[in-house]
Amino acid sequence: MTASPTPVTVIGGFLGAGKTTLLNRLLAAGGARYAVLVNDFGDINVDAGLIASHDGKTMSLANGCVCCSIGGGFLETLGSLLDSGQRFDHIVIEASGVGDPWRIAEIAIVEPALRLGRVVVVADATRIGRLINDPRVGDTVRNQFAKCDVVLLSKTDLVDETVHAEAKCAVLSIRPDAVIETTANHVLTKICEIDARRSSDFRADEVEPESPDHEAEFRRWAYRRDGEFDRRRLASAVQELPPQLLRLKGNCRIAGEASPMVFQMVDKAWSLSPTVSDQDSPAAITLVGVGTSNLPPARDLEAILDTALAASATS
C-alpha cells in the first residue's frame, strides 16, 4: 500500500520578516501533526511544558508535532524525516532568509512522498517597500516572491494605513497577482489546514459544486454568472463584501476586454490580470471564495457581486 503524499508548505521571506513567529504559533496551536523544519532552534519559543523530548536536532511536542533543525543540511534533514517512517499530516519548511522558497517547493513537486501545498512568503510591512529596492538584497527579496502563492504581510500592527498600503503596493509591484493576507488570525494554520485537506480548494480551473465544509472552520462558495463585470462596479462591490470572506479568486470577463481575466482578492486588496491559458470556463464568470465558518449566506454574497455585472448582462 502506498501512503498518500504528505502536503508541504514552504515558508519564505527575508531575514526578520516574521517566519519564526508564525512557526511558533503553528507549533503551539497543534491541531494537526506538523513536522516543521526550521533554520535554527534559537528563536523557536515553544512552551517548555509542551516539549516531550529534545535531542538538539529534533524537538518532539506533546501535541504530536515535531520541529527539526536544518542546521546539519537541509536535504539530509528532510531525507531522514521521510526515512523515519513517521507519518505527518503536513510538513512545513522554513526557507532561509536569503533563500528562494521555490527551490524548496520543487522538491515537493518531484518527490513522490510529498505533495506541494502552498508557497507562502512573509513580508515585513515596516520595511518591505525599502527592501525590494535595496542595492544589495533587492534582487534576492524580489525573487522570493516570484513564484509564491500567498504573501503574508507581517507587523501590520506597527504601521499606519499609509505604510500598510505602501507595503501592499510594493508586493503587488513585483507580483501584480499576489494574494496578500495579514498575519493576524493564525492565517498560517488555516493555510496549512486547507493544504492538508485538498489541494484544489482555490483553483479556478477545478471548481466544485458549492459545499459548506463541515470538517473545518472554513466555508467555500462559488459564484457563477454568464455575462461580464463592469470594472468600476466591481471595485465598488468588492468594498461591500463582508470581512468573513477571506479570499476570492477565479476567471471572469470584464466589459471592454477581449480576453478573460483572472480576478484575485484578499482582504479587500484585489487584482485583475490576463489569464495565463485560454481555458474553457463553464461560465463567463467563475469565482471561488473561501471564508470563515460564519460566512454570510451565499445569496447575500451573490447579491453583492451581482451589482458589479455590466448593465447589459444583468438578468
Binding site: 531575514l15 543540511g73 536535504l75 520543487e106 518531484v110
Partner: protein, 549 residues
C-alpha cells in the same frame, strides 16, 4: 625523552627564512628543527648527532601548506575521475584527463565492468563542459555506458550532474517536469543534466544515497594524507566541516598515530551552528588539539561561485549580463555574526568570490574592529577572486589576509575573460601582484577537490597566469616571482592559519616538516615549476616517501 639529532643533507635547502634563505644541512631532534646551515656548522651539535645523506641529491623546502582544501579530496578517489585535466591519485597514479565524450564513455565502461553488482549505480566526478569546448554530456551519451545501470557524473563544480536515461525514468524526471533544475534536451525530454536541490534530492533518494555524504571513514582520512604526501603538503586545511562527533573522534584517532603524515587544520562550518554554539564548540575542540590537529578557525560562506554565476558582484555585474548571484548569508546579518566571533577571539575564514561579497565582508570586519579593536585577528578572505586595489587597501588597513584562488586562472580563466568578468576584470582575477604591492598578507590555494591539490601547480598558476587554452591574464601586473609564489604556499599560507610560528619555513625551533623535491624550483625555468617531481615529505622528522603507482 630526547632522541638523537639527525642531520639531513641536501643538494639545496630553500628555507623561506630571509635571514638564511638557503642551506645544505638541517638538524632535526624530537620532530623539530635544531639548526639549519652548512655541514661544518652542524659539527658542534654534539656527539649524539647522526648524519643522514639519503637526500643529498634532492632539494628540501618547507612542507607545503594548503590553506584551502577539503577532506572530500580523500573521498573522491573511490569514484572514477572523468575531468579534462590530469590529476594524481592518493596512490600517486597519474590519472590522465579526458577531453572527448568518447573517452569519458570508455572510462565509465571500464569502471562499470569492474563492478560486481550490475544494478549498483556508477558515480563519477570531475567533468566540466567548459574544458572540452563546451560539449555537453547527454543522457544518450551515458546510455552508451549502460541502459540498465544508473550512471551519474558529477561536474567539477559539484553543483551540476549528468545522468543516463534509466535514472530519469526511475525518478520520473524524463518527461513532464518543468522544475528549474531539469534541463530540457532538443527532443523536449530531459537532457540528463541536473542542477539544483530538487533534482539532486530526488536522484539520490532513488539511487539509495549520495556516495559523498554519510560518515567519513578512516580510509578517507588516510587518502587525504596520502594525496598531501604525493604533492609535498605537510599542513592541510579541511576548510568547511560541520565537525559532527563521528568526525571529531576520527580526526582525533588519526592524528594521534605517530606516523600520520599531515598536520590537519579543520575549519568549523558556521552555517550549521549559531555563533554561540560555534564559539562553545571551538573552545572544547581546542582542548583536543595536538601537534597534528589544529582546531580554532571558523568558515563562513557569503556567496557562491563566479563560473556558476552565483557569486555576488558589484555593479555592473556579470560581463554577459547574467543576473547577480546568491547571498548565502544575509548582508545585514553578517556584522552580528562577524562581531560575535571577533569578540570571542576566533579567527574567521570568509568565503567571498564576488567583489560585492568581499565588500560586505570588509564592512562587517570594519564594524567589528571599530566595536572592539583586536590586534592580529588575521581574519582571512578565502578566494577573494575579484577584489580590486581599493579593496586590497581596505584589507591592509583592517589587518585582513587573503587566500587567493590561483588555480582558477588556469581552470576558468577563459570563462572569466569571455563570460563572467570580461577582459579587464579577468586580468586582475586573483590579484596576487596587487596584494603583494599593497602589503596584504596572502596565500594561494587549490580548493581541492574542486581543482587538483598540488602547491607547485598552484604556484605555477600564480607565476604564469595562463588559462587552460593558453590565454595570459594580467601577467605583467599580477604575476608572482617563483620565490614569492613559493612563499605563498608555505610561510604565507601558514600565516593565514596562525601557524607561521610552527610551520611554513625551515628554521630553528619549528616542526621538522619538509617537502622533498627532485629539483630546485628556484633554478628550473619558471614554466616548468609544476613539473618538478615530489619525492615525498618529512613530517615532524618522519620520512614519508610518496606512493607511486
Amino acid at each position: 625523552m630526547s632522541q638523537d639529532t639527525v642531520v639531513f643533507s641536501a643538494r639545496k635547502i630553500v628555507t623561506m627564512n630571509p635571514s638564511r634563505p638557503s642551506a645544505t644541512h638541517v638538524a632535526v631532534r624530537d620532530g623539530r628543527i635544531v639548526a639549519v646551515g652548512s655541514r661544518d656548522e652542524m659539527m658542534a651539535l654534539g656527539t649524539a648527532t647522526r648524519f643522514d645523506d639519503r637526500f643529498a641529491g634532492k632539494v628540501l623546502l618547507p612542507g607545503f601548506v594548503e590553506g584551502h582544501s577539503h577532506i572530500m579530496e580523500g573521498m573522491m578517489w573511490t569514484l572514477p575521475y572523468v575531468g579534462a585535466g590530469d590529476r594524481r591519485s592518493p596512490e600517486g597514479r597519474l590519472v590522465p584527463g579526458i577531453t572527448t565524450i568518447d573517452g569519458i564513455i570508455e572510462r565509465l565502461r571500464q569502471a562499470g565492468a569492474e563492478m560486481t553488482d550490475p544494478n549498483a549505480p556508477l558515480f563519477a566526478w570531475g567533468f566540466d563542459p567548459l574544458h572540452i569546448g563546451g560539449r555537453k554530456l547527454t543522457r544518450q551519451d551515458l546510455d552508451r555506458v549502460s541502459t540498465t545501470r544508473p550512471v551519474m557524473v558529477v561536474h567539477q563544480s559539484f553543483h551540476i550532474s549528468n545522468v543516463n536515461t534509466i535514472v530519469l525514468e526511475q525518478t520520473e524526471l524524463l518527461r513532464g517536469s518543468n522544475i528549474s533544475g531539469v534541463v530540457q534536451g532538443d527532443d523536449g525530454l530531459a537532457s540528463g543534466e541536473l542542477q539544483g536541490i530538487a533534482a539532486r534530492f530526488r536522484v539520490f533518494r532513488a539511487l539509495g544515497g549520495n556516495p559523498l555524504s554519510g560518515n567519513l571513514t578512516p580510509d578517507d582520512v588516510a587518502r587525504y594524507a596520502a594525496s598531501a604526501c604525493v604533492q609535498g603538503v605537510t599542513t592541510i586545511t579541511d576548510l568547511h566541516n560541520d565537525l559532527v562527533d563521528h568526525t571529531i573522534e576520527l580526526y582525533q584517532s588519526a592524528t594521534k598515530q605517530p606516523d600520520f603524515g599531515i598536520r590537519l587544520v579543520p575549519a568549523l562550518a558556521s552555517v550549521s551552528h549559531t555563533p554561540e554554539q560555534a564559539i562553545a564548540k571551538i573552545a572544547s575542540l581546542r582542548e583536543r588539539n595536538n601537534d597534528k590537529l589544529h582546531y580554532g578557525i571558523i568558515k563562513l560562506v557569503i556567496d557562491g561561485s563566479i563560473q556558476g554565476f552565483t557569486a555576488r558582484l558589484r555593479w555592473p555585474g556579470y560581463h554577459n549580463g547574467a543576473p547577480n548571484g546568491l547571498w548565502y548569508v544575509a548582508p545585514e546579518e553578517l556584522p552580528r555574526i562577524v562581531e560575535a566571533y571577533h569578540r570571542a577571539g576566533i579567527q574567521l575564514h570568509i568565503h567571498t568570490n564576488g567583489d560585492e561579497a568581499t565588500e560586505t565582508a570588509l564592512d562587517a570586519i570594519e564594524a567589528a574592529q571599530t566595536a572592539m579593536p583586536r590586534p592580529d585577528h588575521r581574519h582571512t578572505l578565502q578566494h577573494c577572486q575579484m577584489a580590486d586595489a581599493a579593496q586590497f587597501r581596505r584589507m591592509k588597513a583592517l589587518g585582513v589576509c587573503a587566500n587567493l584562488f590561483a588555480n582558477h586562472i588556469y581552470y576558468w580563466g577563459d570563462a572569466h575573460y569571455e563570460l563572467t568578468m570580461g577582459p579587464e576584470r579577468a586580468a586582475r582575477l586573483d590579484a596576487t601582484g596587487t596584494a603583494q604591492r599593497i602589503g596584504v598578507p596572502f596565500a594561494i590555494h587549490s580548493d581541492a577537490p574542486v581543482t587538483p591539490l598540488g602547491p607547485l601547480f598552484t604556484a605555477w598558476c600564480a607565476v604564469q597566469r595562463t588559462s587552460s587554452s593558453g590565454r595570459v591574464l594580467g601577467r605583467e601586473t599580477e604575476a608572482l616571482s617563483v620565490e614569492d609564489a613559493l612563499a605563498a604556499v608555505t610561510i604565507g599560507a601558514a600565516y593565514t592559519l596562525k601557524l607561521d610560528d610552527k610551520v611554513g619555513s625551515i628554521e630553528c625551533g619549528k616542526f621538522a616538516d619538509f617537502a622533498v623535491l627532485e629539483d630546485d624550483p628556484l633554478s628550473v625555468p619558471p614554466e616548468t615549476l609544476k613539473d618538478i617531481r615530489v619525492w615525498g615529505t618529512i613530517v615532524g622528522g618522519h620520512i614519508k616517501e610518496a606512493p607511486r603507482a
